[in-house]
Symmetry: D3
Amino acid sequence: MHKIPLDIIRRALQEDGGDYDITTLSTVPAEQQATGIIIVRQAATVAGLQVAAETFHLLDERVGVEMLVKDGDSVQAGHVLAQLSGPARSLLSAERVALNFLGRLSGIATITAQCVRAVEGTRARILDTRKTTPGLRELEKDAVLLGGGHNHRFGLSDGVLIKDNHIKAAGGVAQAVKAARHMAPHLLKIEVECETLAEVREALEAHADVLLLDNMDIERMRNAVELVRHQAPGVLIEASGNIGTNPERLAAVAATGVDFISLGALTHSAPNVDVSLEFA
Amino acid sequence: MHKIPLDIIRRALQEDGGDYDITTLSTVPAEQQATGIIIVRQAATVAGLQVAAETFHLLDERVGVEMLVKDGDSVQAGHVLAQLSGPARSLLSAERVALNFLGRLSGIATITAQCVRAVEGTRARILDTRKTTPGLRELEKDAVLLGGGHNHRFGLSDGVLIKDNHIKAAGGVAQAVKAARHMAPHLLKIEVECETLAEVREALEAHADVLLLDNMDIERMRNAVELVRHQAPGVLIEASGNIGTNPERLAAVAATGVDFISLGALTHSAPNVDVSLEFA
Amino acid sequence: MHKIPLDIIRRALQEDGGDYDITTLSTVPAEQQATGIIIVRQAATVAGLQVAAETFHLLDERVGVEMLVKDGDSVQAGHVLAQLSGPARSLLSAERVALNFLGRLSGIATITAQCVRAVEGTRARILDTRKTTPGLRELEKDAVLLGGGHNHRFGLSDGVLIKDNHIKAAGGVAQAVKAARHMAPHLLKIEVECETLAEVREALEAHADVLLLDNMDIERMRNAVELVRHQAPGVLIEASGNIGTNPERLAAVAATGVDFISLGALTHSAPNVDVSLEFA
Amino acid sequence: MHKIPLDIIRRALQEDGGDYDITTLSTVPAEQQATGIIIVRQAATVAGLQVAAETFHLLDERVGVEMLVKDGDSVQAGHVLAQLSGPARSLLSAERVALNFLGRLSGIATITAQCVRAVEGTRARILDTRKTTPGLRELEKDAVLLGGGHNHRFGLSDGVLIKDNHIKAAGGVAQAVKAARHMAPHLLKIEVECETLAEVREALEAHADVLLLDNMDIERMRNAVELVRHQAPGVLIEASGNIGTNPERLAAVAATGVDFISLGALTHSAPNVDVSLEFA
Amino acid sequence: MHKIPLDIIRRALQEDGGDYDITTLSTVPAEQQATGIIIVRQAATVAGLQVAAETFHLLDERVGVEMLVKDGDSVQAGHVLAQLSGPARSLLSAERVALNFLGRLSGIATITAQCVRAVEGTRARILDTRKTTPGLRELEKDAVLLGGGHNHRFGLSDGVLIKDNHIKAAGGVAQAVKAARHMAPHLLKIEVECETLAEVREALEAHADVLLLDNMDIERMRNAVELVRHQAPGVLIEASGNIGTNPERLAAVAATGVDFISLGALTHSAPNVDVSLEFA
Amino acid sequence: MHKIPLDIIRRALQEDGGDYDITTLSTVPAEQQATGIIIVRQAATVAGLQVAAETFHLLDERVGVEMLVKDGDSVQAGHVLAQLSGPARSLLSAERVALNFLGRLSGIATITAQCVRAVEGTRARILDTRKTTPGLRELEKDAVLLGGGHNHRFGLSDGVLIKDNHIKAAGGVAQAVKAARHMAPHLLKIEVECETLAEVREALEAHADVLLLDNMDIERMRNAVELVRHQAPGVLIEASGNIGTNPERLAAVAATGVDFISLGALTHSAPNVDVSLEFA
């Protein structure tokens, strides 16, 4: 897990105007205390609970948050995630931002957990992608971890993934791999995107460390995996390309024997988990 | 529309490491030029196209972007949204961040447009809420406008919405409205949340300007509207509370005669629109 | 009140070089303790005392500040506002910045209180404007509140005030009000500026929520108020336009029956209140 | 003059919400062009005109500003300072912030110029102090220069001014001067505050480079000047302490022969100059 | 190369007060133009020339900089690196900051190039480390590239290097490698630090991808290399640990057959290259 | 000493990725505690120890740092500077950044102390220059103080140093000094650079407060000093220009009787001091 990104929370609070909540300031006395619970309205894998707690703290350090579950836990509908107590004003003014974080990140963890369950018993790991919400990548990649998934590279500066256009520009797979090997820090592996078996063969000859099988149907994927395992047993294989989060589809992809399945939908289309704050 | 938020785009590019894209730097010559198109894979209402264009510009001001549609346009699957030309490196390094903005914001505009169509012919306006992605509120509220929806207040500092807890703290609806009227700038109307007809009556007596009917069933909502129109014709009415984006449900809510329907799902659960960049 | 704006205080301290006060560092031993009082040299309504206290704390969290009055209190010349104790270096290095805040904000609260007293017994509220010091709007608007005044809108994004040029551009008062009503969040009222009775009539016909009577003489203002009260009893009226802070003038304006009098001079020309720090 | 502080202008625009001026966005068409003039309503020395021009540019780089006078010029009431042309929306949305800068800074330059005229023919220079508006020190010190005044030190890190408390802490004037001389960069002169002739003598013996005569009456000041000129002709003399901006008082102080008169009122209590934007 | 870090340059200019260079502002007329050359006083490999050029541009965009060599070129003492022309004030005020960048970064490139020459003809690459100047890592790592060296990982988040303490904490080499393999993105190789041949054998058994031979003498290093090449030909070998920049020492290390030699001294102790700006 | 610059430390930690140290996060349990010592491998004058301690605190406030020496102390090789205890992860993740500060700043203090010793018994003070690492000027100037040296001006805005080009632009030494005297705050002395005895004479006639003897050989420097002491006993003299850190050379320069010797090498070419963190 990354450290709680205080600056992102601060910006979200500022964006919501929580430090000048006219309704609350005018109707709730400064000294009034309140208690409340955060409750989840559907079965979910929790993520963002610490972020939500920190949101209350950043608005007002006097708010107490007792977490009754921890990030990564799976819970049923109606479960109480945390108890809050403190100045009523602060609970009210921070509520929406805290729940926005919690609902969105739990959404990602929940859909990830479903995908991970779909491939249980295979060697396949569920990976995220760079298709994350602008500004929230670290939080969203952590939510994937909490759901039982794994992280692909964080960005363009800390991983090498050679795609079609890089190959064309470099003048061929061999040249592209060689150029990347020359410039990239030596701790980085070189991954090459392949759409056909011919491209798989070229990538193996170029000594790629990892292959990304892009948009292949199950049959071709199975052939590709077989080819790789036979010719280059140390090479890793990732399946990608609009695979989606349907469990049967995921199981079929995993059954081909790939090492990784990467899914943009984990982060770009996860439905919000319904959470709410109830005052005592 | 708000101004394009350059700082948010810059942060997204930085987060993605686009200024040190090892793969591209090592395999694509600095002087190589490229052209490409941004294409949408499904029917959609476009939002975020200007943001995407600015993303390319911020990474490299030499990238040319010709927009073939404009934000707010509705297009069919396969439509080309824009043509790009410029240094191949820059097109490759900015691609993902640009598409992340475009896919997410178009997702919001598209679901909003569907909801707006569902209530056509009624007086009801579709509104967004404060359930937006932390850090992206302005962009997401603009996407709602582009989809034909309307904006609720931007945050807690520029609108008054008195809920259950405010009423309890203030000692009653009348006291709460009066306190808010005293403190809030005189250009702000006072909205009061009501769950029962009794609460509707109280709010009217307290001279609320706007009523929010929360979590009412259709029947009760219809009664509430009738009551308001009869007793206080100038008062506005908003329906809210897990209404969702189902067209039939929306039509039924609109048929009660409310002025506004506010929907958290527009921004917290809109599925991504599938967009991609194809190189010539 | 807004939260104390720590970033503004930090910038002020940095601007003053207080973290490297050569004089103090070279002449005062690090371990030397001191006590002092903040004293006001003239009758005043206090504002900025908490900001001043926070200024000392931000420079050195070991400085103790005991406030003997609170923001909003009215005091006589010679009154001691606070007692300070802590490292002598820190008291000396933060003194000027703390007093700059205190003197300026008390100046605003003091002149506001005078204006509020001038209209006592009438329905008129004293309002601030957007003529505030760049960068200090929140602090200055809070000082107006402390002096007994009320806040007009905070900025252009959270209120609608249609002036002459908007009307011309929209093609008439009716069109301008309609356009604003369409785009603005529904919690915002629409205010229209009027210089003549004819314009007042037009604005009422266009269903403006609030009228701003600009630069009218007392006689015309009285007529305008009468007209509005008669035709549209729910509509609010604001007087504005170089009214100034002269008590007689204010009383005369208030006597016309307007709801609000807005005064740029509260914030752009308030003389500093003379405050100083005396060491024991 | 310092460089135009773009970050301060940006913060002021953001504070005013000028990038989402609802009134203007809803009533004025995007393509509408406008022209206008900035006019001054009273005799004044102009300062902040370049800042105002930059304010319009920062909101919209398409706004053209032709300055008809330059910062530092003295003008009569009714003088046109600049002509503006560009998108009507941008002129309207930036107007208030631009005028807030211009009115305040011209206020400082104008009062400074009056003080400078009051001491004409003497050796005395009019100096500012550190009693400036938090966040605006550079702009305000530049406005003093434009009014014909001179700048005292900018802050605590770039000048040495030993006051009563420093002397007590150091164990005497001689020790304080010596300590400051040891630590301060060798390009800094050492100034010592004196309230009595005895203190003046001590400071001279301690080899202070500059004396600040604080809160002395005219008679004592004259004696002090005489003493210094006789005993230490190279030493500079500054008069300070609630001298105020009354011309007769200033002339009397200058007539004592001091080198500098420093005035907090130049920056903390200068009344705003009345400027406005008129559309064609 | 990374993009030129404008924010770092801006901070350096601000730190130097170049926007208010009192000496230059008071003595050099605003309109005076000047030309000058940047000249190097010793044989060097150039780095930071583009950064220096950008420094002048950031202070004043009117300064023209014609680069006569490019970053990475090796030049003799007395070589002219660039010609400058523009406002004399701006050339003078930006000079020191520009040369500070150029001298430091050229120092790094120059010592790197010497080390690279020392191992020419061997397979060994010269690598940098994380022992860089706080705040300047990207610039310094680019300077190493310009000198012909290669980059080790940029930071702790984009590479895995298991040291002694990690091994102890994990309960052994095998456990540590396995744990890292589980959590780290799959594109990262796992490097393990070894001080003895026994540790080398353990690391190989644990399937480390890369070995770091730390503080070994030449004899032991040679044995280690032999062992690795024999048992695990795909594994990469890095030599490290106070090797220093002495050419004979470097040649001896390289002769052992290692793949990489990493040197903290490239960045933490490179002597400045003497560069100066001469006005025409 | 300046306050510890937390923002600079934060940036350095962020640059190093210490908040997501994959190696440590995957191999070291969250709850594991550790203790360690910071040890110096060579004789040195310590600087940056408080900065290093703050680096650990900023990464994790639970890390305890007990300093066994204080900044400015001189120690022998093998001396233990501090003891650390706390979460093992945090010690490991902050180690490199903390040592980077400590090694670099101690390097500056150490070379400064050597130069100070070389001129002991003379009146000459050792000064730093503006040839500092971009972004670290305050820290480096403090390290010079800790080594027994003195600070020259901090930047261009807080000191006047008239060089050849300023003189040419102003039309002569007399004009340049007069212009600077007119504009600069009156607490600043005026220093003039001289390369010949003729220039020394001119500067004295122009009433410069300080002379900088640039690039003079020992003989000429001695003559210059004699001339100044004879003609203008109050004027200060600084020697500068590639003097270097050789003790004999420094002693010879000091023997000429100058007041100051300024040395760029103190900050731009100080070799790192070897410090390391050893776990118990």
